[in-house]
Symmetry: C2
Subunit: 312 residues, 2 copies
């Protein structure tokens, strides 16, 4: 029998690669890690306070559901935002999970239905690279809703694992621009861009899974059916292999990066422009990436009808 390394009394029934706790001690540890992140310990900047208007992005997966639950338990007032991407049954289940949780805890919830609002499902918009279109759509809509509804901060369920995957991808490609920008707090650099924060950056996927189990949270267990070949999965897999061989490697890797981030220089503060169509901030001249995506199926259709038949 393993003993909880915190209280040194009860049996440790949460045995993870780096921690070994009894259930009550694990929950205390988990909440404390999230609180430290929110309070900006080591980062030097608070993510939000108890007065902040917090929009919580919830996909229905274990990480965002764990974060929404812990924020609620820690006494923060949040409103959920769920984006229904209309990926068949997967989206239906996800939406139901999120709606059930909001109802059970009496929490506000905003749902944006992609097909209802923009006439297309994610698959109809994406055509080829679903994962990159999904990221784009989510980033755009999360910010738009946060801005239009007057929230001061947008919280996402990105975990230590997610951050490590991004970091390893950026390092193997030496993508300096992205390395400069990667941080648990992304400040607003435009009046229509809302501050983004990742309160789970100290917490691993393994830990959110244990938390969700203990708290009996309902969440979507299936992986997104469109993500089967996603690049990020290969990085996730190798990071898990390294973690198994070298426990705490992920934490050392990401926290070490944060400590040494200044090596990569400061992000250039280039001025964001305004999208000609929707009026939201964009790095592009003309249409923003989201409006371009919306235009794409239409453009493709127009181009197709222009093609001359081959003379035989």
């Amino acid at each position: 029998m393993k003993i909880c390394k915190r209280c040194r009394e009860k049996e440790a029934d949460v045995v993870l690669s780096t921690v070994c706790f009894c259930e009550p001690c694990f929950i205390e540890y988990f909440e404390r890690q999230v609180q430290r992140a929110i309070d900006g310990e080591k980062l030097g900047v608070q993510m939000f306070s108890r007065d902040s208007r917090i929009l919580m992005a919830v996909s229905g997966g274990k990480d965002s559901m764990a974060l929404w639950n812990v924020l609620n338990d820690l006494g923060y007032e949040t409103c959920g935002l769920h984006i229904d991407l209309n990926i068949d049954e997967y989206s239906e289940v996800s939406r139901r999970v999120v709606e059930n949780f909001a109802a059970s805890k009496n929490l506000d919830l905003i749902v944006v239905d992609l097909r209802k609002e923009y006439g297309k499902s994610l698959m109809e918009l994406a055509m080829r690279d679903a994962c990159s279109a999904c990221g784009l759509v989510k980033r755009y809509l999360m910010n738009k809703v946060a801005y239009e509804k007057g929230f001061s901060v947008l919280a996402t369920g990105h975990t230590l694992d997610d951050e490590c995957v991004t970091l390893l991808g950026n390092l193997t490609r030496w993508n300096l621009e992205f390395l400069q920008r990667q941080y648990p707090i992304l400040e607003s650099t435009h009046p229509k861009l809302v501050r983004k924060v990742k309160p789970l950056f100290r917490i691993s996927d393994e830990e959110t899974a244990a938390y969700a189990r203990i708290k009996r949270l309902e969440f979507v267990r299936e992986k997104c059916p469109l993500a089967s070949g996603a690049t990020s999965l290969s990085y996730k897999k190798v990071l898990n292999e390294l973690e198994q061989r070298h426990p705490s490697l992920k934490k050392a890797f990401y926290l070490g990066f944060l400590k040494n981030k200044s090596l990569f220089g400061k992000e250039e503060n280039f001025e964001l422009k305004t999208c000609e169509s929707c009026g939201m901030p964009t790095a592009n001249v003309g249409l923003c990436a989201f409006c371009k995506l919306l235009e794409r199926p239409k453009r493709r259709h127009d181009e197709k009808s222009k093609v001359k038949p081959l003379s035989i």
Copy 2:
């Protein structure tokens, strides 16, 4: 049938993850990559010239045997250095492979036999961590022989894979000091420290294996029996997995690092001291790490004889 991507005529019988050549084109490609490294293309500093006195460190494995062969074929005059670590049959076979090659090509060879010279095999010296002791012993002896015999440069068979493993290990741990020092050319920073170069830094293990096969080089196929749990193996494995999913990742990772190396700052030029026992350069005050290692079994023996018997 795949066609050689270089001559676009012959069948490609060398099909690797990133290249696809016929045998003659592969050899040309291989030799050209090594020549580019030696000439210091992109590095801005030549590794050595045709007049340099080159000591070539040869373990008997495929990488060092491939390098020794290609240097010979490219017309460089080299003398081999083999360190016999007395790891049972593994060392016997390694030594025989190296001696056979030297004899067949009429090349000079220096063999340092650890037990004959210092009275101990590697295992007797290492006790616990054989891999780190092996690295220490080799680094020390390679430099000592190179210095004492008046060589201007020491060449080792470190490949792109070896460099990537070191780089990934240094990055996950954010070991800045080692990141500052990692480079295919290590200049002399002390009169008794010989310049070290890695002419295979652009060549993958997969490529040295193909080269060795085509050139029918004899080499030791067995892994060192002491290295089974080595840390480097877990990094090697995950890098191979990433390479398989993202071809050319290793090359992009390492060459990108070399391009961005200045981010990590310059190595501090701290003054090396001289070992009180052997007179070779060392960062330590008193004995160098090699002399300490030689002392260890003796010290342990002395300490053991000092232990008082327990009173019952």
